[in-house]
């Protein structure tokens, strides 16, 4: 991790959703993590483990049930609407589905210009110029500004979304399965773009993914989520080469290997994920993390 205080510090964040009478989904349960400046923290886990909810709660697209999110020294979990809107410039999100995350009735140039106008960074011809710069930066032609989302391919749309996310010059960019919906070749292009932008602009990424190959390429550190809780977090090499938690091990075993001679015969994860729904008043047992190596924390199993 880079020196100094982390850019983002999440402390005991919980997000519960009520379902029907007297039951609650514990989507995110006591999650604590940090993202350093210029660092990529990947959050991995299977579908429904709460990784997207964590991302959305961190930037308050969902209201947290409890816990804090400290961004750049400011606890944004308690901010009022107006103050929150100002802080939104520092944290942006790229969504999974590039077909749903752009307004179909708005030319893409205006979608990218909107954050500039809202945060009064630029307006008029000045905004157009900045949008053109952003387009160039993400590898799009500036004269595509007047086109509509349906005229773009998935990879191009995701580039538009990246341009929109970068418009406010954020420090933290959350990529919520940002490349999962793209073809593998396009995925590689978008990942390379994101990594270039990181080194140019010093961005921090919270990279939500279930694709471990992508995570291994992108991330500096990895957090493994299971049933709303982090069960293992540590440097990429520690997680990939020396996974301590049985869930992490099984997750890594599930990655197919193209070479049949190299196939392992460890059992795959086939059991259903236990339910995160709890009756009112009850809650899952809190997972305690212990440090097994510097920066490598693992939940105790029993």
């Amino acid at each position: 991790m880079s020196a100094g205080t982390p850019l983002v510090e999440v402390r005991d964040l919980c997000k519960h959703f009520p379902v029907g009478a007297g039951a609650t989904v514990h989507a995110v349960e006591n999650v604590s993590l940090q993202v350093g400046r210029g660092e990529t923290l990947a959050v991995v886990g299977e579908s429904g483990c709460g990784k997207s909810t964590l991302a959305h709660t961190m930037i308050r697209l969902h209201e947290p049930t409890s816990g804090q999110v400290v961004l750049d020294g400011v606890d944004i979990s308690g901010l009022g609407n107006r103050a929150l809107r100002e802080h939104r410039a520092k944290m942006q999100i790229i969504f999974q589905d590039p077909f749903a995350s752009l307004d179909p009735r708005r030319p893409v140039g205006r979608a990218v210009a909107e954050p500039l106008l809202i945060h009064k960074i630029a307006k008029g011809p000045d905004a157009d110029e900045q949008v053109a710069d952003l387009f160039t930066r993400v590898g799009l032609e500036p004269d595509m500004m007047r086109q509509f989302p349906h005229q773009f391919s998935g990879g191009q749309r995701q580039r538009v979304c990246i341009a929109r996310a970068l418009a406010t010059r954020p420090e933290l960019v959350i990529a919520d399965e940002a490349v999962s919906a793209l073809d593998v070749s396009i995925q590689a292009q978008v990942i390379n773009l994101m990594m270039e932008l990181q080194s140019e602009l010093g961005l921090s990424y919270l990279f939500i993914s279930h694709d471990l190959a992508v995570v291994e390429r992108m991330s500096h550190r990895v957090a493994v989520m299971y049933l709303g809780q982090i069960v293992e977090i540590g440097p990429r090499s520690a997680i990939f080469e020396n996974p301590e938690h049985s869930y992490t091990q099984r997750l890594l075993d599930a990655v197919p290997i193209a070479d049949p001679r190299a196939r392992r015969d460890r059992p795959l994860l086939t059991d259903e994920i236990p339910s995160p729904v709890w009756a009112a008043g009850t809650s899952p047992e809190r997972v305690e993390l212990r440090e097994v190596a510097p920066g490598h924390l693992v939940a105790a199993e029993g």
């Binding site: 959305h56 930037i59 697209l61 809107r85 100002e86 939104r88 410039a89 944290m91 942006q92 999100i93 969504f95 999974q96 589905d97 749903a100 995350s101 752009l102 307004d103 179909p104 009735r105 708005r106 030319p107 909107e114 954050p115 809202i118 945060h119 509509f148 349906h150 005229q151 979304c161 929109r164 406010t168």
Partner: protein, 288 residues
């Protein structure tokens, strides 16, 4: 890059292209334009006073000295009535629909966007209006106040907005969880901006279709009220003509047929336009 022709342009432009390819819809548009032109300028070309008793009562079309559409039970010119009666019908419908849009869209948008207790409160309020029989409700309002064109328009508007509120709410419920709306929130857009600049434009297509159909319904509603005698006695309208002639129309089919045809054509034109818009806004039919 090769782009199919149907892929070009904004969604609105594509919808327009689809609409213009629909013959029935274009016919509806031409028919409506004709009716509007007749209402606006018809009296310049046929400048008979529709309220003046100009000949013997109940003279049929083609009879000696009778006007083209004959005379009514008092001897007034039916054609002059048809030409002039549209302005009341169309004005009432326009004002009523304006009210429907303002009340219905505002309540539906706020209920759908905010949800929770705001939604509950606004929807219970909407249901109160919805369970009232519309005709009876409008009749009570017109009867309580003076039966002026304005009162009739307000009464129809107040009786007709719940459907629009529910439709708007449903569209907002569908749209507010889409990612581009979340993206707008993540950017820092205010609620006002998200409601009116992001969600509302995307909710427009079904609303435009529904409003077109409500236009037709409002014209029918106005005719119904006028038929029952609930209209401004000094402002002639198609429905009023049918109502006034209902005692004698067996002796003179033309007294009700021509105003009836005018109502029928107007409502039909709105229906055809509404259907055409519905298809034009449906992306699944695009490019055919």
């Amino acid at each position: 890059m090769a782009v199919a022709r149907s892929e070009l342009g904004s969604p609105g432009r594509q919808a327009l292209r689809m609409f213009l390819r629909n013959r029935a819809a274009v016919f509806g548009l031409v028919l409506l334009s004709g009716i509007v032109l007749m209402t606006l300028f018809g009296s310049f070309f046929y400048d008979q006073d529709p309220t003046r008793i100009m000949a013997r009562p109940l003279q049929g079309p083609g009879e000696d000295g009778a006007p083209a559409f004959g005379t009514d039970y008092l001897g007034r010119d039916v054609l002059a009535g048809v030409v002039n009666g549209g302005s009341t019908s169309l004005t009432v419908a326009l004002v009523a629909v304006f009210l429907v849009v303002v009340i219905g869209v505002t309540i539906g948008a706020l209920a759908g966007y905010y949800g929770g207790w705001i939604d509950t409160l606004l929807m219970r309020f909407t249901e109160v209006f919805q369970v009232l029989p519309a005709l009876l409700f409008a009749m009570v309002i017109v009867a309580l106040f003076e039966p002026s064109t304005r009162t009739v328009a307000i009464a129809i508007g107040l009786a007709s907005w719940p459907g629009t509120a529910r439709l708007t709410r449903a569209e907002f419920l569908r749209l507010k969880n889409l990612e581009f709306v979340k993206a707008a929130r993540a950017i820092g857009a205010s609620d006002f901006r998200i409601i009116w600049r992001v969600i509302f434009p995307n909710a427009l297509p079904p609303l435009i279709v529904s409003i077109t159909l409500i236009m037709g319904a409002a014209i029918l509603f106005e005719s119904g009220l006028a038929f029952l005698g609930l209209s401004d006695p000094n402002a002639q309208s198609w429905g009023q003509m049918i109502g006034l002639n209902r005692q004698t129309f067996l002796n003179g089919w033309w007294t009700v047929t021509f105003p009836g045809l005018a109502i029928f054509s107007t409502v039909l034109s709105f229906s055809l336009i509404g259907d055409g818009l519905q298809d034009a806004f449906n992306p699944k039919l695009r490019g055919r």
